[in-house]
């Protein structure tokens, strides 16, 4: 899986802690984790295209969460960065080669069916969890994180 997903979720959490009032630039978000700024910018652009964050150009600009953390599921972030195509794409090899005569193309590929169901379970599990859930879990074990994070991003 694309590693940008990890960056995206963590950055969304940081944006949630900073608050939607002030925007944070991609360079600063990247700096927080020591990541390459340009590539981080690309991930944030994907989030912006998906409507998860707003982007404002110019000085003082940057990215802000477009919705409340409770209204953003982890699935949203993953779909925005990783793409919405299924990981397993059925190439319908049963319709190729000499064995093609044995199959009626109308009825679905049973292998694909199983893979789809599994991926559906995966998506459902990711859609069940929101950024607010993760945020709450982190704050439960480390209550000082919100203040520290906000302070760091407010700093120089």
């Amino acid at each position: 899986m694309n590693e940008g997903v990890e960056w995206g979720v963590h950055s969304c959490l940081n944006l949630a802690w900073v608050g939607a009032e002030s925007a944070v630039s991609s360079a600063r978000l990247a700096e927080y984790y020591g990541l390459p700024p340009g590539y981080m910018n690309k991930q944030l652009q994907a989030l912006a295209r998906a409507g998860i964050v707003y982007s404002t150009p110019g000085p003082g600009g940057g990215f802000r969460l477009a919705r409340a953390p409770a209204e953003i599921t982890v699935m949203d972030v993953v779909a925005a960065i990783e793409g919405r195509e299924p990981a397993f794409r059925c190439a319908e090899i049963r319709q190729r080669g000499p064995g093609a005569d044995d199959v009626a193309p109308v009825d679905p590929c049973q292998v694909d069916q199983v893979m789809r169901r599994a991926e559906l379970a995966w998506r459902a599990e990711l859609a069940r969890r929101t950024l607010a859930d993760i945020k709450a879990a982190v704050e439960a074990s480390s209550p000082e994180v919100p203040v520290r994070t906000r302070r760091w991003f407010a700093g120089p």
Copy 2:
């Protein structure tokens, strides 16, 4: 996801229909779907390493199912070909950069937790389905497939 997974599952189904008595060469399995023989061979080697199929060299040799179809889950095949490492691997970026001070490494990364749970749901769904299930579903909609397949692989 590796496309060899699709080849592996379909080939295992074919081996199930042919029966464990007679071995089928990788070249012939590849020919059935019009796939490159060498690369198909590689996938079957992975299945052999995982103990899903037996391999016998020499003329008349080839691959046979090592267990009954009901004892082979789709997860087994996927793990054999795709590997057992999780798709999402947490790089622990929260421990890197200036923000590292804010986190206690002992408590787990909540983002990773969510990802792990989702992937676990995916694995569980794949482990629930066996080759026998797929085989039965195909035969239910196309009862002639077993005979046709066996006949084709018995042919010249």
